[in-house]
């Protein structure tokens, strides 16, 4: 086997290259006096786009857990929150509420990944052996428990107000807003593509074969000598760590976090995105997420045009989202781009 077989080939590797390029360009904007100006109309796209990059990491991690391994994790937001709160509590400088230790942000980000991973291991060891629907409830309940903790312990987590004064590395380096926005979306988008590449590598290797076998039938997979529990734990922890990483990045991007950012709505959005796009296909789930988040964009535009209040529009959007989920399950369980045979849903 030569260097040739290690060179970029296949989707995972294209994503890796694209990701690295984006990060490099983003870094350019962040570190050099290079500037851009963005037309005002773009702002909304960039904002939603940046959030898409972050949620994208969530959906990729969830796809690893559910799409590939069959673990029904309905509490994914808790790992997102754990990462965000870890960064906030370690890196914030004298926040108005809650703890903020003012430590350097790279260390805080690393800690975020570790904390989320450890939480994933804790939830995993206890819950992975549960039956599907019970696992869904256990993970859901865990997310709710932590949400309550974040709201209740004001002095530690900042209560409903949350924790602010989190350093924003890009914001600190770049004074011009337009350039900062550009740098942010490039950097975060690039990072997301790199994580996509990593997870794709994992799942296109024999590792992924074992995961998909587990999804198909636990017992058969064990009977051919694979330690199913170990793989389930790994998938769970990797997904959790990835979500924690996304959470940490979110905190550093937003500069402030609050429990309102970490509700079950996030989990539901990511799930619908995954199912709509087609579980077990990493690019498809990103596509599905893009559609769902695109609806957010749509409703923002429609808002300008229609004589309806914004909260009414939010409700309309959620009705559409809910019905999309129902429709996907009923009429196209493999999603738009998913493989029905892969998922065992062809009838």
């Amino acid at each position: 086997m030569s260097l040739a077989s290690r060179l970029p080939s296949g989707d995972g590797d294209r994503a890796l290259v694209a990701g690295v390029v984006l990060v490099a360009v983003g870094a350019l904007f962040a570190l050099t006096p290079l500037q851009t100006t963005l037309p005002g109309a773009f702002y909304v796209f960039i904002e939603v786009g940046t959030l898409f990059a972050i949620y994208g990491m969530l959906v990729i991690g969830l796809d690893l857990q559910y799409g590939h391994t069959g673990l029904v994790n309905f509490g994914h937001v808790v790992f997102f929150a754990a990462g965000a709160y870890t960064v906030a509590m370690l890196a914030a400088e004298s926040p108005f509420a809650g703890i903020g230790l003012g430590l350097p942000w790279p260390a805080a980000l690393l800690a975020a990944v570790i904390v989320a991973g450890v939480l994933g291991a804790a939830v995993g060891t206890t819950s992975i052996r549960l039956r599907d629907d019970f696992l869904a409830i256990a993970t859901l309940a865990t997310a709710e428990i932590f949400h309550s903790l974040f709201v209740a312990f004001q002095t530690i987590f900042g209560g409903n107000v949350g924790i602010g004064s989190i350093p924003q590395p890009v914001g600190d380096l770049v004074t011009d807003t337009d350039t900062a926005m550009t740098a942010n979306i490039l950097l975060l988008g690039g990072v997301m593509l790199v994580t996509l590449a990593a997870v794709t590598r994992l799942t296109s290797a024999p590792y992924g074969r074992v995961l998909r076998a587990i999804r198909a039938d636990d017992l058969v997979t064990r009977s051919v000598g694979k330690s199913v529990f170990t793989y389930k734990m790994q998938a769970f922890v990797y997904g959790a760590a990835l979500a924690g990483f996304a959470g940490g990045l979110f905190a550093l991007y937003n500069g402030a976090i609050a429990p309102g950012y970490f509700t079950i709505q996030v989990t539901v959005t990511v799930w619908i995105g995954m199912l709509l796009g087609g579980a077990a296909n990493h690019r498809a789930v990103l596509g599905g997420l893009a559609v769902i988040m695109g609806l957010r964009l749509l409703s923002r535009f429609a808002l300008d045009v229609a004589p309806v209040s914004s909260s009414a529009f939010a409700s309309i959007r959620l009705i559409v989202v809910g019905l999309i989920l129902v429709a996907v399950i009923r009429y196209r369980p493999a999603g738009i781009w998913g493989d029905a045979k892969e998922l065992g849903v062809d009838t």
């Binding site: 599907d132 629907d133 309940a141 709710e144 903790l149 209740a152 409700s315 129902v326 399950i329 009923r330």
Partner: protein, 304 residues
């Protein structure tokens, strides 16, 4: 506030959760799904009751009845539209469908009803028991002043009536006995000639009626808004699992445990941490799942 007062509150909460949890757990045991839209059935019941009492207007008991009937009808219609067609797909697709349906329903209600909560116009009588000895044990007063409102009594009373009627239903009627048979072993029930789809439909109606009743009672106790039912769904879920998923009797027990634990934790937690009381319900839930998934009633955790 004394322990007894908190237990009164706990009994009230436990009562309406129990009414709802029975319906929820029957759906789990017989239709084999966790219905996450059940909260919306409760909300719909609450609104039907309020509209009946306020708009028509009819006396309160009639409004309650209308809400119950409405709940049953809505539940059956939703089941036929959304759940029965996908009965064979398994618990997870059905759970996900219920999540999507619940999301949509909740927002339809929000659109129609607006953001403000609606209230029942009721005249409340409060029964006060004052001058009772405090019977302090450390920082806790065992008795102290206790009050019970007529609304409290209505809720608890309705719950008791429901339990009695339910028991009669499950033990004396054909439908009820068939429900129990299906809950135990569906294929066996089918072999014995039970029309499983008819029984499932009956369960949907029954669950809807109970949800409607619970909704009206909650609205009488507090108020009705688009998120009324959703706010309680996780407590109902916790009560059902604690009691043993699928067992209505277990659900009753589980509901009162949750109700009393909630009341006590709200009372004894430092103020500002009342949020934690809802976390307590979930901690119990997770604990049950990990230690004894079959719950109080020891229901066999069935294969999907």
């Amino acid at each position: 506030m004394g322990l007894t007062q908190n237990i009164v509150f706990g009994l009230v909460t436990g009562s309406y959760i129990a009414i709802a949890a029975i319906g929820f757990t029957l759906i789990y045991g017989i239709v084999n799904m966790i219905n996450f839209a059940y909260g919306e059935y409760i909300t719909i019941g609450a609104f039907i009751g309020i509209l009946a009492a306020g708009a028509l207007p009819v006396p309160l008991p009639v409004a309650v009845l209308v809400a119950m009937i409405g709940g049953g009808v809505v539940s059956l219609a939703l089941a036929k539209g959304f759940f029965t067609p996908i009965n064979d797909t398994g618990p997870i697709p059905m759970l996900l469908t219920s999540i999507g349906l619940g999301l949509a329903l909740r927002n339809v209600i929000r659109l129609l009803a607006g953001r403000n909560a609606r209230y029942f116009e009721t005249s409340t009588t409060t029964f006060r028991f004052e001058g009772l000895p405090a019977l302090s044990v450390g920082p806790v007063d065992l008795l102290g002043n206790v009050f019970v409102t007529s609304e409290h009594l209505i809720v608890i009373g309705c719950a008791v009536v429901v339990f009695v009627v339910l028991h009669a239903l499950l033990t004396r009627t054909d439908v009820g006995i068939a429900m129990r048979a299906m809950g135990d072993d569906e294929s066996l029930a089918r072999v014995r000639g039970i029309n499983t789809q008819r029984i499932r439909d009956s369960v949907w109606v029954l669950a809807g009626v109970l949800a409607g009743l619970a909704g009206v009672l909650i609205a009488i106790q507090t108020n009705a808004s688009a998120s009324t039912g959703y706010a309680h769904i996780l407590q109902i879920l916790a009560a059902a699992i604690l009691g043993g998923a699928g067992s209505p009797y277990g659900a009753i027990a589980g509901s009162y445990v949750i109700g009393i634990v909630l009341a006590l934790s709200t009372a004894f937690l430092p103020s500002g941490m009342t949020e934690l009381s809802s976390a307590v319900a979930f901690v119990i839930l997770v604990g049950v799942l990990l230690v004894k998934p079959s719950g109080i009633a020891g229901q066999e955790v069935r294969e999907a």
